[in-house]
Symmetry: C2
DNA sequence: CAGGATCCCAAATGATACTG
DNA sequence: CAGTATCATTTGGGATCCTG
């Protein structure tokens, strides 16, 4: 947490071009992992349910197909955002939940909501 | 600023499903506007240069074509993130800069950088 | 200088049917 | 219940050439 620069330091360093010394844009990698029509919606479902089953996601996300939901979940799992736990009971089911890495998206989502709250209605 | 809930209130309300009462995921709209291969990189260029010309973007963003750059800039302009100012001199040029709405992305980008700083090296 | 017009390819999305 | 397999369609990305 405190081992990263403050927001004010960040703004100052951006203006001096310091934060670009890493070579590439530091914003792009995460947003690339969140691209696709369904990923943000899936992650937001996970914000509400601590743990959620495939069928619940399927029902909540209107219009999503099995294929799309499966693909998105696989990629989110591979990128380390979510856990997949399989229960081999009868009937079988699967539960998805955030990893710590996924939970750490919360501050990002919060700032996005703040932005949305401020700008939703002035287009 | 202060007319939006705090981060702690937000976390509590998320858990109670309150923040979803708007119907849809509040994270998706902004991230949809930032999708595409080049938009985040263009916006980050604008974080560094206060104002930047088409040709500079073209040079900095390796591999981008005129078509892609033009399309991305047009969409960013239509979504209200950037201004486009045309100078009809000889030779003519165009300058792009952040709108206030675009500058308000800074806190979002800052949180994304914090996330990246914490998680870049643990995949 | 900063693009517009056209065409082509690859990737993302989606519909449908089937299964451990 | 939670997928997989297959195929069709749509969208995004890009190469190339041209222009006010």
């Amino acid at each position: 947490m405190s081992d990263f620069m403050s927001y004010d330091e960040y703004l100052r360093d951006v203006k001096q071009g310091i934060v670009t010394d890493r070579g590439n844009c530091p914003v792009t990698p995460l947003l690339r992992m969140l691209q696709g029509k369904w990923k943000t919606q899936i992650l937001y479902e996970l914000c509400i349910y601590d743990t959620v089953r495939f069928g619940v996601l399927k029902k909540d996300l209107e219009g999503i197909t099995n294929t799309m939901l499966t693909n998105a979940l696989r990629e989110l799992e591979q990128d380390g955002f979510i856990n997949r736990v399989q229960f081999n009971e009868i009937p079988p089911h699967v539960e998805y939940s955030f990893t710590e890495k996924g939970k750490d998206l919360m501050p990002v989502f919060y700032e996005i909501m703040r932005w949305g709250f401020k700008h939703d209605n002035d287009m």
